[in-house]
Symmetry: C3
Subunit: 426 residues, 3 copies
């Protein structure tokens, strides 16, 4: 349960909001690199944190993300021409470079100095790990790009997707933090992750549906241990991180690629769900890539030409009651990621958290809310923010069997470390 | 004409509203029995009086209507599993019985007592006459189910449908009370009810388009006599009832099945239109059933898998100006029920009754408004409400020819009585 | 840049608004004459200035535009019957003539005088130049119909269209006044107007993209001269008019038909774009008509049975990036009119003009705003309004080459005059 005030605070991310200010301190994944495939390719609209923006790659390959609307008479630059090192508005030909400078203004006389007074909002961009990143905050506090494992491996070891989910980003983020639903919602669908239904993890998850949580504050956010009974001597630990401000990591299943997410606000009632799968020490196999494309796992199956999922709230996520009866999906919805998507969206665009009824299994979620609210205060009071140091992202989730009595942070110490040799060897 | 205040009062039915409180004193038809065809069948969403609910039939056949949203993190139980005597949320497996008790809570440790503190809103249900009914009011004032004729006959003597109409329930209800439009709007389409266009009733309806109304208060609502000139010696009376809080009965046409409606709020801008046709003393014929299914009469032709009518406001109710010119439908719209539906919806979601211009032909409608407003006051002052006694529903509408000078309540006395022998004989 | 207050004032046109009052002083093009092709044809809905109206042509051919909703119980007269000199509501048969009088009221007794108290809002109509016009203002100030050249030529010399554009009328009107965008937005598409890409005008437009504006107040609105460098001795002048309250004229291209527009509010977020093309001294050729129908020029290609354009904001105006790269359309959108439509709509339903950045090329637009705001004040203070005299509309736009130093109003004097002999000779 959360106060209405704190619920508002956590979920509103437009310009000038507290949470919006916080998120703007971090780099934000904006587009797949392949959406801007070559210099002077068509510009692409992207909405982030309530701001309507347009991204383009100029003649020299430089990336720009600028206000979607020309400052002159406010028409969309989407219809503009990306050419000769700038994006030119289709209406009167005003032209802007990736830094937002007006570099040509043909509707004014050649001798006019008007051009020098015209500037458009622009945000710095970087391309890393197959993603185009942007930073929407004050220039003076711009950090370095984060260094997460999936960003450091080679392209052939990585598969990335993004999709629109029709609810507030924090509602989706909570699902990413919440280990306890894995035993229930995904009990039938783990096969979609490339995991054997007879594997140890699957058995442990099924056997104990009430994990106990231990949560530790860290310099990147939270380290979350979810403990399940394995046998008389051992606990099965699924250990995951909440990396500020919107990343989650999925504890690995033996043999299957690793996975993680970013949950990024589009506006207050929609979010971008980024998913990445990677193999630290080998290339992804063709079979694994096909499974990812199929929508069976965490990656979506999209309506071509859009980032909308084929299964969506308008079609009740293509619920199949027979599949549900057979136990292939606990919710009757195809795909691990779509199971999450469906239940989260079903709660409405912004859950009224003052009406919830939380249990001990929600411990990690409660801690994540506190973590964000604390960071909001830190920002307002000039305090230090977590996860700004890129190297703090060099960590791994883990799933391990540990003797009872061994603290998970100690027992899993090595598994939680990102050892560069693992992927540099490739 | 109605004050803006009274218009608001009559049309708002959400929790806590005056009209909402009144309607919640009565049983409400919620679903067709066939929508929950067998134990453990898929749950079904149903929205009533602004409340989003979910209906299910448990393993033992017991019916439940509960809040659509799990109290834990508020996701929809629509994606839940109906099994082992309860509806289980797909997210974390919380399970509820038909009474709203939480009977399993697998995400908490076995020793936890948390489960006992969790309850979900639930409403009692009954199945009668092919309909699943619910009662959404205070338990202490729950009445017995009404006893209307169509509920008492055997299944083979009855045809029931429901559809969504895109306007406030009271706007639709007014149409059901309004006898005067029958002479105009339905002048071309009575054939759709199985009535000969050359029958006496049709002739009388066409001849006198300005019926005089006599309306009497009763213990169930209103008894409404609409008098038309038949010949020098006789009046043609169409006698109908407004049964509180939302039922209307159609005066019979000789030879054709009897009919009636319930007009139930979905929310303030949409309503469920229930229609029932029945034959008291014989089975419905195959031809009659086919005609009902065709949409020619009061029953709708629906978009498969939905309760939306194929003809709807988005397609101008498939108006056919040639059919209109030929006089087969005065409005150019196929089907008696769709003619009503179209004109009522065309007035917008909630008519501004402060802008109306009512005539003497609106007498019954004015009385019905008073009847509801009076009941609202009675409820607030602890007075007696009409139509709570089930036997008060054991009445019939009538259409009779009476000598001028004979009061209709006397002359039609026998026709207005529900004689059980009529249908018990079957 | 405009104050928020003045932006509101210019863009709100519903009943009782300042701009709404002003527009209601003028005749308004409402429908194509062919939409009401013969007596007793089906009635047609038309929304103007936020008012929902219905138009019909009665048995005697008389035109009426009345409130869409029957005063009785407010259902739409769209479903009514147009017969025997009146439009009859489908619900209870109330019937209205073109002047809004209730001429039959069959639901009341024959002796009733109720009918005499019932009247429906109605506006006078005229048919002229292939258009049905209406006047929505106070009867005492009704002017004569305007006399624009396209209205005076014969039917075979004229092509007219109307379409819905999804933005405020003034946003579209500004585009019609704005000569400077022609050099950019339409640089690739002038061929769609029947103009050679190698013509002088095309060359001049391409060469000088920064026209200087000279704007003069007139008795009909504004006379706007846009001056471009032609050669050392001459200027190329494109001279256009803003005729109050919402007409613009396109300066001619040699050989091609002349053109003009009216930009009429549907409501505050949508407008009717009227387009007319005409040849003063000859019939339109079949080839010209085909080109107009194709959507290549100012006229739209519509979704059959609607006034919606096939290219619209839902499909990004069918933008074709290859066509854009090839320079056939600067915006990658097919058709001169659709290029305007797309960029104007892309700015949102109502541009926030307090956020604009205007240059010297926006001089005519700034003057047009002042002209409208001045007329609003004149109306409120009982002053004289421009363009009410029909003969003030007897003018022509022009495009001329004039020696530098010659004032455009003198040099183009003859070209700007509407000489009746030109078209009366046909």
């Amino acid at each position: 349960m959360l106060s209405t005030k704190d619920n508002y605070l956590l979920t509103k991310t437009g310009p000038g909001t507290s949470m919006g200010n916080l998120l703007r301190q971090y780099w934000i994944p904006a587009l797949l690199a392949e959406e801007l495939p070559h210099p002077d390719c068509p510009p692409v609209r992207v909405k982030l944190l309530g701001e309507e923006l347009i991204a383009f790659r100029d003649t020299n390959g430089k990336l720009g993300i600028v206000d979607e609307f020309c400052p002159h008479r406010k028409v969309s630059l989407f219809f503009g021409r990306n050419e000769d090192c700038g994006l030119r508005c289709a209406y009167h030909g005003w032209k802007f470079d990736t830094d937002g400078n007006c570099v040509d203004l043909p509707s004014e006389p050649p001798e006019s100095k008007f051009k020098d007074k015209v500037k458009i909002k622009s945000y710095p961009c970087e391309e890393r790990g197959g993603v185009i990143w942007t930073y929407m905050g004050p220039p003076e506090s711009k950090p370095e790009l984060p260094e997460q494992e999936w960003m450091l491996v080679s392209d052939s070891q990585r598969y990335i997707s993004r999709k629109i989910q029709e609810c507030n980003f924090f509602q989706a983020l909570e699902g990413g933090i919440d280990s306890s639903h894995v035993s229930i919602l995904h009990s039938g669908s783990v096969g979609g992750l490339g995991v054997s239904k007879k594997s140890n993890s699957t058995t442990f998850l099924a056997k104990d549906t009430a994990p106990r949580f231990e949560v530790a504050d860290t310099d990147y956010g939270l380290l979350i241990g979810a403990r399940r009974e394995a046998d008389e001597e051992n606990f099965y630990w699924r250990i995951t991180q909440f990396l500020m401000p919107f990343y989650t990591m999925i504890p690995p299943f033996a043999g299957a690629p690793r996975g993680g997410h970013a949950w990024v606000p589009i506006d207050d009632e929609n979010c971008w769900v980024w998913s990445w799968s990677w193999t630290p020490d080998r290339d992804l196999t063709e079979e694994e890539i096909q499974q990812m494309k199929s929508g069976a796992g965490i990656h979506p199956s999209l309506i071509p030409g859009t980032f909308r999922t084929k299964a969506n709230k308008e079609n009740d996520f293509l619920i199949d009651r027979e599949m549900q009866k057979r136990g292939e999906s606990f919710a009757g919805i195809f795909g691990v990621g779509m199971e999450d998507h469906a239940v989260q969206v079903s709660a409405g665009p912004i859950v009224d958290r003052s009406q919830e009824k939380l249990g001990t299994s929600d411990t990690a979620i409660i801690k994540a809310r506190q973590c964000l609210l604390k960071a909001v205060k830190a920002l307002e009071n000039g305090g230090k923010l977590p996860a700004l140091d890129p190297s703090s992202h060099r960590i791994r989730s883990a799933s391990v069997l540990l003797p009872k009595g061994v603290p998970f942070q100690e027992g899993a110490k090595e598994a939680l470390e990102l050892r560069e040799k693992d992927f540099e060897a490739v």
